[in-house]
Symmetry: C2
DNA sequence: TGCCACATCGGCCATTTGGCTGATCCCCGG
DNA sequence: CCGGGGATCAGCCAAATGGCCGATGTGGCA
């Protein structure tokens, strides 16, 4: 019997997962958590074989950080990421954090059950349409932006002008332009609008 | 006994909703649909009292259009919108389309059950933190953009320059600028970045 | 110690953008 | 048949943006 811990901030989703997982007779849900913090605590005491974890967990720590913390446990559960979105950066982030795989929420229940079985067996589990992208991501990893650049990017995405960003960060416009130039180069774009688009598309922000 | 039709593109969520709704003894799920089209067909034959409908329905028609179509049936079911996001434009769109209410997915199961009961009784059902915003929205309704303006806005959000948009739409840059000027005025912004932000924030795109 | 990444700043210049005014055409409804 | 909204276009001009060159200081790491 493989034991499973559910992590999702939506009670309804947890109920649904519990229903489809407990329906078979080889898997058993032994706990539910609504936040990453709760998941880490529960995993320590319940020692599940597999943790099924949403990437978006509301206000607390996100699924990637939760994954990293879970993998640091001893014994470490297999972590299977389950989410609505397929942003590249998050896929890679989750894999890097030690996730055993990544499934989209719109798949059929049996796919989820099968994914849990394979994760428990130590296999990698990737939604078919994601595998290619993950491998592609491995070949050309996402550009690494510095903390400051991410910060500027966030302000950019809120529609701020260079002047506004400069005032907010207590630097000169020249500095903001410098950061932007670096961001543009790294993202391979040539306008703030496209930078915003790429950043959102890849999950950078 | 109040009958309910579930509409959500995620099988897992449908399972969860079915579990929490069927748990009581006054509500009964009589059908599930994964798309808006399917929902409209099923509602016509099953004649549910209440339709519980996600706003995002994958590739097909969205929840708002589905709501409008459902409300045009005879007898018309009460439509309760259930979604993850609380974008203003969508709240208002759903209400205008005849929805009986709007709940967020992260609420507890009993809130959903109670919402269905109240919707079946003909009440309006609004998540508490949304009611104020809806009323505010009533006072200052979202600007109405034309089809063409929305189209330009979408290209804008993909980071296109005026020249690129012009080429794509087979018009001159002057026309694109004209549309943009109107968009900016209606959204009360003065830069493309902020227009993108507001449009995404309010669910316009 | 020297190197390198990072954050900070400045100047110059071409391009893009945004504000303004005004124009034509078409369709639809009173 | 006229009015109005929508889509199309034009020119002018100020401001913001983006590309390019360069510079300084600081902290970590080999």
């Amino acid at each position: 019997m493989t034991t499973v811990l559910l992590v999702d901030d939506h009670p309804v989703v947890r109920s649904g997962l519990r229903a489809v997982i407990d329906a078979g007779d080889t898997l058993q849900v032994i706990g539910e958590a609504a936040t990453g913090e709760e998941a880490i605590t529960l995993a320590g005491s319940l020692r599940p074989d597999v943790v099924l974890c949403d990437l978006r967990l509301g206000s607390g720590i996100d699924g990637i950080r939760t994954t990293a913390a879970l993998r640091a446990l001893d014994p470490a559960p297999a972590v299977l990421i389950l989410t609505t979105f397929d942003r590249d950066a998050e896929v890679l982030g989750a894999i890097e954090a030690g996730a055993a795989g990544y499934l989209l929420k719109d798949v059929d229940p049996e796919v989820i059950v099968e994914g849990i079985r394979r994760a428990a067996a130590g296999d990698m589990v990737l939604a078919p349409d994601l595998a290619a992208r993950v491998l592609k991501g491995m070949r050309s990893p996402l550009p690494r932006l510095t903390e400051r650049e991410i910060e500027v990017l966030r302000h950019l995405a809120r529609g701020s002008t260079n002047r506004e960003i400069a005032r907010t960060l207590f630097v000169t416009e020249a500095t903001v332009k410098s950061h932007l130039a670096h961001i543009f180069t790294k993202l391979d774009v040539d306008s703030r609008s496209r930078a915003i688009h790429v950043a959102q598309e890849t999950g950078l922000i």
